[in-house]
Symmetry: C2
Subunit: 693 residues, 2 copies
């Protein structure tokens, strides 16, 4: 794999010619685009594109594709819902789902789609509030001010407001969302074609996946009326064509300091990879317990394998000596410029060293912070128990003093998650909790007071079995009673999972406080300074690191060279059948084998573009300059995995399902006329219905 050669993202300057950048909608480089592609999107174009885009759940993207609330995303984004709606008897993951009538559309237990309706710059307000503060005072004030802004903006349960930290704190924007919390499943293909090639093909290209799912957002029990949505392109994307991707890239780390990257390279990523690898081995073998255990753990395994492969890509990028040397050189150059100007030196000069010191602190507290607080104890039931325990404390406090996530503005979302009807599988819960308690003991050692407190004389396996089997929290009603009962209900609860969460909470809060004040606040404060220094030195025409919020990227359909060979940008549907071996993950579903004779082999299947994206962009629409759907983002190529730290136009590629493949499959494989008609009103399916479908 060729490693990245970076320019813009390294030095923090504006990219000159490359298709680099996950741009915010209020700082899109429209004129630059004109220079390169001869097209300059208008403000109206940008507004309509933004409003036609939807955040999907909390880690994916989607788009509105009809005036009646039809939403397109990836199968792998909706698979949580699809699995939750499945049972051992009706397995929609394995067999797919199609609601032939609106009445058959099934409500997802815990899902929301949201639309970014307003962006407001609140940088000056927050800077004024925190001026001159450091450490705890800085962190507390910033948190309180953010909570206040969010609360004031949240005018109802269907509104969510987030203060978004951009440019590592160089800017703060308030994002207001319209929330759609009634989301129903309309169409999903079989897992076997949605994720054809499985983990071996994941992040690879050429590719042959139909990674799509359609859901519909409802309002007051009826399909929501949507003013802004994307229409379907007649032909789809062609080689060389200008493309836009509007979606929610999760996180990039291109603006991090060398000390932060070193921490990631040497500590955080390796530790995470060891843990994920072990979970992968565990869940892979858990699947051998039986077909039902396989079914209930498929989602977990998929997530772990996906995360593992992408995290490995990041690690490889950071251990690349040449790449890292460029990062070091870029930082040194910026610091040299800062230090050459006495005023700038006084203001910004120490920021990098402060961040480096915070990384040293993080190295020292990492085991305790991760073990006690940051996802150390992994099980859905434990997570719910912890939220209930914390809510009983936090909601009694003034809004500005609460832990983030428990503010008034977050309550609708918090309740939604707490009361979700998504099934919880005790056998898998026990396995996961056993695993994480074993890791806790391994990392902190059996003699650590916290480990002794948690385990007592029990083994991880006995404790996990006891608290999972003894807990009633799998029942949403039990959770509701504890939530509404507040502190008194929690204190009186004899639920062993609640008791476990209550037992560990003081230690978890204590280490979290150390983290927030000695690491997070220091990094935030000094990253703000570095971001301001970059603005001063390189100007403001730069994009911020991804933060899970809506971004727009531009690029073109374009092949690339790998190991000396040219990779063509578009695959054909016929190739899908050539790749079929009959054995998972290269086994096509029966529907496809049956429809093969009807499918046009030359139909474009998947394609790549130079758009700069990252995990979280899954489900994003690929649109042309007329704002028409030409594809559906579902992956990046293996070379793009290092994109967390930089972008190289020569090999970084977005991987998408072609719009024509979607139509061809909906028409000839699935006969999903109702969806087709909605996507392309007036188009009439012409294929005869194959018996048995």
């Amino acid at each position: 794999m060729k490693r990245l050669l970076l320019v813009a993202s390294l030095i923090g300057a504006a990219p000159a010619l490359a298709d680099e950048g996950m741009w915010t909608y209020n700082n899109f480089p429209a004129s630059k685009l004109k220079a390169k592609y001869g097209f300059e999107p208008s403000q109206e174009w940008l507004d309509k594109t933004r409003l036609s885009s939807g955040k999907f759940g909390f880690g994916c993207s989607s788009s509105f594709v009809s005036p009646d609330g039809l939403v397109m995303t990836n199968h792998h984004c909706a698979r949580g819902c699809i699995q939750q709606l499945s049972t051992a008897e009706k397995d929609f993951i394995a067999n797919g789902f199609y609601a032939k009538t609106q009445a058959e559309e099934l409500q997802c237990p815990a899902l929301e789609v949201s639309q970014l309706v307003q962006i407001t710059d609140v940088t000056d307000k927050l800077n004024a509030a925190t001026k001159g503060l450091t450490g705890k005072a800085y962190a507390d004030t910033l948190k309180a001010e953010m909570a206040k802004l969010e609360k004031d903006c949240t005018t109802g349960a269907d509104v969510r407001c987030d203060v978004v930290t951009l440019y590592q704190g160089g800017k703060y924007n308030l994002y207001e969302y319209q929330r759609f919390q009634d989301v129903r499943l309309v169409f999903a293909p079989e897992h076997a074609i949605a994720f054809f090639g499985g983990d071996p093909d994941n992040f690879e290209f050429p590719r042959y996946d139909l990674d799509v799912t359609f859901v519909r957002v409802y309002k007051d029990g009826k399909p929501a009326k949507i003013d802004n949505y994307f229409k379907w392109s007649d032909k789809g994307a062609k080689d060389g064509e200008l493309t836009f991707v509007s979606g929610h890239p999760g996180r990039t780390s291109r603006g991090l300091t060398v000390a932060q990257l070193e921490y990631l390279r040497d500590v955080a990523l390796p530790k995470q990879l060891f843990k994920m690898s072990e979970i992968r081995g565990m869940v892979t073998e858990f699947q051998n317990r039986g077909p039902e255990q396989k079914r209930i753990s498929n989602n977990l395994l998929f997530g772990v394998e996906n995360g593992l492969k992408s995290t490995k890509g990041k690690h490889e990028q950071l251990v690349d000596k040449n790449f890292f040397a460029q990062k070091v050189a870029a930082e040194q150059e910026l610091r040299k410029k800062i230090n050459a100007n006495p005023k700038m030196k006084a203001k910004y000069g120490a920021a990098w060293d402060e961040i480096a010191r915070a990384q040293d602190t993080l190295r020292n507290i990492r085991k305790e912070y991760e073990g006690m607080e940051a996802g150390g104890i992994g099980s859905q039931l434990f997570g719910l128990a912890r939220t209930l325990v914390r809510a009983s404390d936090e909601l009694a406090r003034p809004d500005t003093e609460r832990l983030r996530g428990f503010n008034e503005a977050n309550l609708p979302q918090l309740k939604n998650q707490l009361m979700s009807k998504a099934p919880i599988y005790p056998e898998l819960e026990i396995a996961q909790l056993t695993f994480s308690l074993t890791k806790l003991r391994e990392e902190l050692g059996p003699d650590h007071p916290f480990v002794k407190k948690v385990l007592g004389n029990e083994s991880p396996a006995s404790l996990a079995a006891r608290v999972v089997k003894g807990s009633t929290l799998a029942d949403p009603k039990a959770r509701e009673q504890l939530f509404t009962g507040g502190k008194a209900a929690i204190t009186a609860s004899t639920d062993p999972m609640i008791q476990l969460a209550a037992l560990v909470d003081p230690d978890a809060r204590a280490i979290r406080k150390v983290y927030e004040e000695q690491v997070e606040a220091v990094v935030r404060k000094n990253s703000e300074l570095i971001a301001q220094a970059k603005f001063e030195v390189y100007g403001t025409g730069i994009y911020p690191d991804a933060t899970g919020t809506l971004r727009l990227s531009f690029g073109a359909v374009k092949g690339y060279t790998e190991d000396g060979k040219q990779v063509e940008p578009i695959t054909a549907m016929g190739g899908t059948f050539e790749r079929h071996t009959g054995e998972e993950p290269f086994a096509l579903p029966k529907t496809w084998l049956a429809a093969q004779k009807d499918l046009t082999a030359t139909t474009p299947m998947n394609f790549v573009t130079t758009n700069d994206i990252i995990g979280g962009n899954s489900g994003s629409p690929v649109i042309n300059k007329n704002r028409e759907i030409v594809g559906l983002v579902f992956d990046g190529n293996i070379q793009s995995l290092g994109g967390d730290y930089g972008y190289d136009e020569s090999v970084n590629r977005t991987v998408a399902v072609h719009s024509e493949a979607l139509i061809e499959a909906l028409k000839k494989v699935y006969k999903a006329d109702r969806v087709l008609e909605e996507l392309r009103p007036g188009s009439t399916p012409t294929v005869k219905v194959t018996p048995g479908l």
Copy 2:
């Protein structure tokens, strides 16, 4: 964990005062020892110590402890044999083993103990043969000359001769061993006390393990008569006492160049850790399939967890910035000295860059080399099949042209391994082979010609199940027939495992050749030069990196400081019971709980010394200056794991079972009078026999 501060091992100079060094018996710094400890071992002392030491299997150490061939090692070294002798009905791992009479001693299916009887320096011979050669010619000549020396030395089936490469090629020594291939199990405690504390306590201290096993070597069906053996100390080790460890440290990498260490840090160790972590998760969950599956996979899990923890320690050492900076500085200093002398510069100057280039080559071929050849396809049956396939080719060639491992000198050992009666478990084989085929496809990609050739249209799981279930190789007789039948038998074989091995062999040999000629030979040749350069600059009073061959280290019983707290050097038997929770791995066996009232709580249990050891030293005797057993090495502390790359006397510690704990347990827990009498002739057990034991 405090990280190492290194001096001697970093610069390649002779350690001045530290207890550093795994010394060869023909270059032991006796006078240095006198200066520090007031004792200078004589040549006779050294010879007798060497002859009383035994290599145990191919990865452990041991000692002769009676004139009748009694050998002491660790339980974890002998557990392969103990497990092989066990069945679902008679589980000696869980319940321990004691042969009350000599007739009850059980023969280990595949084990040998060997005694180093002669060391000859052959450096000049080999250097003369390879003078002026490079690349393939150098590698071939060196291999041929080594094979010749080994063959000439091997005078019978009970003799083994190895040319040992010391100082990365600075010296070559011919080691001649007396082999004992009839090894019988005499005594083993229960796994629960041998490995009390399990993985959580592994590499930790304070510690409470009785990690011991006694076996006996036989000759012509009778206990072998041993002239040189260690007698038992009356009192065992005391705080501050001078101690020696004579054993077979496996491998250290203290002499590697920075480029080699970078490869380990950035590529080899992380990749290995990801794989081992996944295997660990897989095997941990495999154990849940049932009690028999747990039993047959215990050994594998133990090995993986042990390797994982120690490899993590190595990785942590290398990502330690300060440590690595010292390595870089030391190399720069040496190169500066070399470059300042025109003659030395001409001779040695380019060696580091050549090695760096070889590491780049290794990065490029790693996936194929590991996937096809170096342990990529992991299963016992596949390993046997590959050996059979290769033997059928290699044995037809002249001795000097064979692959290493197939030379005449290696044949006795090769046959022993091939015909071993150790049980092979198909269910575990399928799981392991599935795993490694999945990894192969993952690393090389499903479109790699080798992957397509191996898998065809099968999934890893189907292929693994087919070849394991269809193979007869689990039967030693089938292997014998194929071995004696030679090429004709292999070609005619319809055994699917043989066919798989034959299918992959051409590719495996091809990539091995690339590795040997473009990586190994280059590294070897240039490491020789660097070693010679170090001799020229720093003198010859230095120890070579560990190579799995016999070494002697010295040190003292001594505590250390961890996280600001003093760790006492000796634990007491009473602490063992305080650590008992009743849940694995902190559950003591019934025998111990029953004997608790008879045991003297203050008996020393485990202790630490400053001896410089590494993995492979397990089972080594700890002796005092009178050559008496005072302990039994079974571990290093967590700080010693970085010992692969350097030694820090302030925290590196050897962990050993105290000789008094062994006596107390043999006497009062196990009533193993026959063993006791042999260790301390004339001593009479005085404890009453507890009913029920």
